[in-house]
C-alpha cells in the first residue's frame, strides 16, 4: 500500500467538503472552514501529510509552479481573486466553484492515478512550498 492509499480516506473526506485541503493548515482562511472540519481536529496531521504528499507529487510533475508566488498567481488568475492578497483572497465558495469548474472543463491532473481538480492540486502544492 503506497502513501496515497494510506491516506486517501482522510484526504478524500476533506476534499469532499468541497475545498482543497491546503487551506486547512493555513490560518489565513481558517475561518472559512466548514463546521465538519472543525469537529475533527484529530485528523489535521493526517490531512496535512496527505496534502503535502500530493502537493509534492504535483510539483514533481509541474516544476515550473514550484514557488508560492507562482502557485498563488495561478490560483488568483483561476478564481479571479484579488491579486496580492494571498490566501485571504480566496473565499470558500470561490474555491468550491473553481474546483467544480475544473472538473467540468477536464482541467484535472492525475497524480499516481488519483484525479484532482487543478485548483485543489495547486492548493495541496501550496502546503509544501
Amino acid at each position: 500500500m503506497n502513501r496515497f492509499d494510506q491516506s486517501r480516506r482522510t484526504l478524500l473526506q476533506y476534499a469532499s467538503w468541497g475545498l482543497s485541503l491546503a487551506a486547512l493548515g493555513l490560518p489565513a482562511i481558517a475561518g472559512t472552514l466548514p463546521p465538519a472540519a472543525a469537529r475533527k481536529p484529530a485528523d489535521i496531521d493526517g490531512l496535512l501529510n496527505s496534502m503535502k504528499a500530493i502537493g509534492k507529487e504535483y510539483l514533481a510533475c509541474y516544476p515550473s509552479e514550484n514557488s508560492k508566488r507562482a502557485l498563488l498567481g495561478l490560483l488568483e488568475a483561476r478564481i479571479e481573486a484579488s491579486p496580492g492578497q494571498g490566501l485571504q483572497a480566496f473565499s470558500w465558495d470561490a474555491l468550491k466553484a473553481s474546483i467544480k469548474s475544473d472538473f467540468e472543463a477536464d482541467n484535472v491532473v492525475f497524480l499516481n492515478g488519483w484525479t484532482f481538480a487543478r485548483t485543489e492540486a495547486r492548493l495541496y502544492a501550496l502546503a509544501v512550498v
Binding site: 480516506r9 476534499a15 474546483i99
Partner: protein
C-alpha cells in the same frame, strides 16, 4: 427424442433442419421450431454432463494477446455454456448497431429496432423481467437510489440477471418430448459436404470419440457451435472463406479493474451492487452518454461496482486453471503466481470491508470493473493450427489483438467518470486503466505473467455483412455463396458492444427461426 451417437449404426435419416450445437443458440432455435411441421436434428458434441475428453476438443494455441486456455471458456455438452454462465442479460444499444466513423468496420446491417421483438422473447427464455432497461424505472421499483451525479457526461445503466437459466437442464424435457426434434448426443461434426456446384451443403459427417461415424442429411444446416468452433468448422471444410474472412475480426469484451472510487459510506450504493426487484435482479453501473462517446470518438463501456461480494472473473479463471491442472494430476505452471494472486484477491475482499466506521464521515473504497467494447479488427483472428485433436481435426490458433483504440477508450471513460464524481462532489477516483499508449497493442510490453483480460465471450469470427467481401454471412445469417448453410451465435456479430452477448445470441436465434419458417 435423445439418441447417443456412439450407439447409432448406419444412420441415414434426413431432416428439414440440422442444428450443430446445443447451447443457448441451438436450444433456442430448437424451442422456437418445436412443434412446427419441420423435422429437426440437434447435434451435440457432448453428453448431458461435462466430460474431460469431449471438453479437450476445444484445446488450441494462443499466439496473440494472453488468453485463457481454450478448453476453459466454453462448456461442451447439452446446454453449452449456459451451464456455467453468470446470467448477465442486456441488449446491445442502438448506437452499437450504427456505423461509427471512428470505429473501423463498425455497424450492423440493420437497426436495433429489428431485434426488439426478439429481445422480448429472449427475456422470456432467460426468465428475466420486462424488456425495460431504463435505470430510473428500476431504481424506483427497487427503491434504491441512483448515485446523485449532476446531469453531465456519466449516466447509470443497468442489466438484468437471469437466475441464471441453465438451458441444458431447464429446457431438456421440452426438447426431449418434442415430436419433431431428434437430439443426438456425443455427435461431433467433422466434414461438411457441398454439392457438386459448391452451393449447398448435402450432408455432414458425424464422428464420435469412440470411433463411430455416420452422415446426416438436411435441407438446411445451422452451425451453432460457438465463436471459435463455428469458424473452425468452416475453415476445416474450406467453406465461406472465398474472401479470407472466416476467423477474422475476433472480438472479446475487455474486462479489468479500471478505477477505484472513494465515496462516503452514507451514500446508498446497493443499486450498483445487486438490487432484487420482484423476480428480477438488477445491477447498475456507470457509463458515458452516447453523445459523449461520439464527441470523444471512443468505444462503449460500462463500469460496475465490485465490492468483492462475488469472486472476480480473474479469480474464477485462476480457479479453473488450478482445478483443470490438478484434476489431471499435474502441478500447474506458475502455481506460486496463481496462489499469490488468489490470496491477494481474498485479501482485497476483506480490505474492501475497511471503512472508518459507521459514522457520517466514513468512507468506502469501491473498485470499478470495466466491461469494454472491442473494435472489429481483421488482424484479430482464429486460424487453424497444425496440431490435431482426438478426431484428427486441426485445432485452432487464436491470435487475439487489441488496438490502442480500446486502451484509449477505457482510459478516457475512467477519466470522465472520475471527473464527474469530483464535479458532483461525491468523492474522488483513482484510475488504474493504462495511460501509456500502445501498451495493449504490443503484447511484448505487458508485464510478465499478466493475466488475460477477456470475458469468455467470442464474437465476430463469421461476421454478418450484406457484402460478401466484408462479411461471411448475409443479413439472414446464411453463409455467403451457399444456399442452405446458416450460422447462429455471437460469431455473426459485426460489432460487439460492451454488453454480454447471450441475450443478443438468443434474440438472433429467434430471428433466424422466423426466417426459416418464412422459407416454407
Amino acid at each position: 427424442m435423445f439418441l447417443d451417437a456412439r450407439e447409432i449404426e448406419n444412420k441415414r435419416d434426413s431432416y428439414n433442419i440440422c442444428i450443430v450445437g446445443a447451447g443457448a443458440a441451438g436450444i433456442t432455435l430448437a424451442k422456437a421450431l418445436k412443434d412446427s411441421p419441420l423435422s429437426l436434428c440437434l447435434l451435440e458434441s457432448g453428453g448431458l454432463d461435462s466430460d474431460p475428453e469431449t471438453q479437450s476438443l476445444y484445446q488450441g494455441d494462443i499466439i496473440g494477446f494472453p488468453y485463457y486456455p481454450l478448453d476453459t471458456p466454453r462448456s461442451r455438452y447439452f446446454g453449452g455454456t449456459t451451464a456455467v454462465w453468470g446470467g448477465c442479460c442486456w441488449p446491445l444499444e442502438a448506437n452499437e448497431f450504427e456505423k461509427r466513423d471512428w470505429v473501423p468496420y463498425s455497424g450492423w446491417p440493420f437497426s436495433r429496432q429489428e431485434l426488439d421483438p426478439y429481445y422480448i422473447k429472449a427475456h422470456e427464455i432467460c426468465e428475466i423481467g420486462p424488456f425495460n432497461y431504463d435505470a430510473q424505472y428500476w431504481s424506483d421499483k427497487a427503491d434504491r437510489p441512483m448515485l446523485p451525479l449532476e446531469a453531465g457526461r456519466v449516466v447509470t445503466k443497468i442489466y438484468q440477471n437471469s437466475p441464471p437459466t441453465r438451458f441444458g437442464t431447464h429446457y431438456r424435457e421440452d426438447i426431449e418430448k418434442a415430436q419433431n426434434i431428434t437430439t443426438i448426443l456425443y455427435a461431433n461434426v467433422t466434414d461438411i459436404a457441398l454439392d457438386p456446384l459448391n452451393q449447398a451443403v448435402e450432408k455432414i459427417t458425424v464422428k464420435t470419440l469412440s470411433g463411430n461415424a455416420f452422415d446426416v442429411k438436411a435441407d438446411i444446416f445451422i452451425l451453432a457451435a460457438g465463436g471459435l468452433e463455428n469458424p473452425r468448422l468452416l475453415l476445416l471444410n474450406d467453406i465461406g472463406n472465398q474472401n479470407d474472412l472466416v476467423g477474422r475480426f475476433f472480438m472479446e469484451h475487455i474486462m479489468l479493474p479500471a478505477s477505484r472510487l472513494v465515496l462516503p459510506r452514507k451514500i446508498d450504493i446497493e443499486f450498483y451492487i445487486r438490487a432484487p426487484v420482484e423476480n428480477t435482479e438488477i445491477r447498475a453501473g456507470l457509463a458515458l452518454r452516447t453523445d459523449v462517446l461520439e464527441q470523444e470518438r471512443i468505444l462503449n463501456s460500462w463500469s460496475g461496482f465490485t465490492l468483492k461480494r462475488t469472486p472476480s472473473i480473474q479469480l474464477q479463471y485462476r480457479w479453473r486453471v488450478l482445478k483443470s491442472e490438478l484434476s489431471k494430476g499435474e502441478i500447474p505452471d506458475n502455481l506460486r503466481y496463481h496462489v499469490k494472486m488468489v490470496l491477494s484477491e481474498l485479501r482485497e475482499i476483506y480490505a474492501d470491508k475497511w471503512n472508518s466506521g459507521d459514522s457520517e464521515d466514513a468512507w468506502v473504497t469501491i473498485p470499478l470493473l470495466s466491461h469494454a467494447e472491442q473494435s472489429p479488427n481483421p488482424m484479430s483472428r482464429v486460424m487453424l493450427g497444425n496440431e490435431l485433436d482426438a478426431l484428427g481435426q486441426r485445432r485452432i490458433k487464436l491470435d487475439w489483438r487489441i488496438t490502442d483504440l480500446e486502451r484509449r477508450s477505457m482510459r478516457r471513460a475512467q477519466e470522465i467518470i472520475a471527473a464527474e464524481i469530483g464535479r458532483s462532489n461525491l468523492g474522488r477516483a483513482q484510475i488504474l486503466a493504462p495511460e501509456e499508449p500502445d501498451v495493449w497493442a504490443d503484447p511484448t510490453r505487458l508485464p510478465e505473467g499478466a493475466p488475460p483480460i477477456g470475458s469468455y465471450h467470442h464474437m465476430g469470427t463469421t461476421r454478418m455483412h450484406m457484402d460478401p467481401k466484408l462479411g461471411v454471412v448475409d443479413t439472414n445469417c446464411r453463409v455467403h455463396g451457399t444456399k442452405n448453410l446458416y450460422i447462429a451465435g455471437s460469431s455473426v456479430f459485426p460489432t460487439c458492444g460492451f454488453e454480454n452477448p447471450t441475450l443478443t445470441i438468443i434474440a438472433m436465434a429467434y430471428r433466424m427461426a422466423d426466417h426459416i419458417r418464412s422459407l416454407g
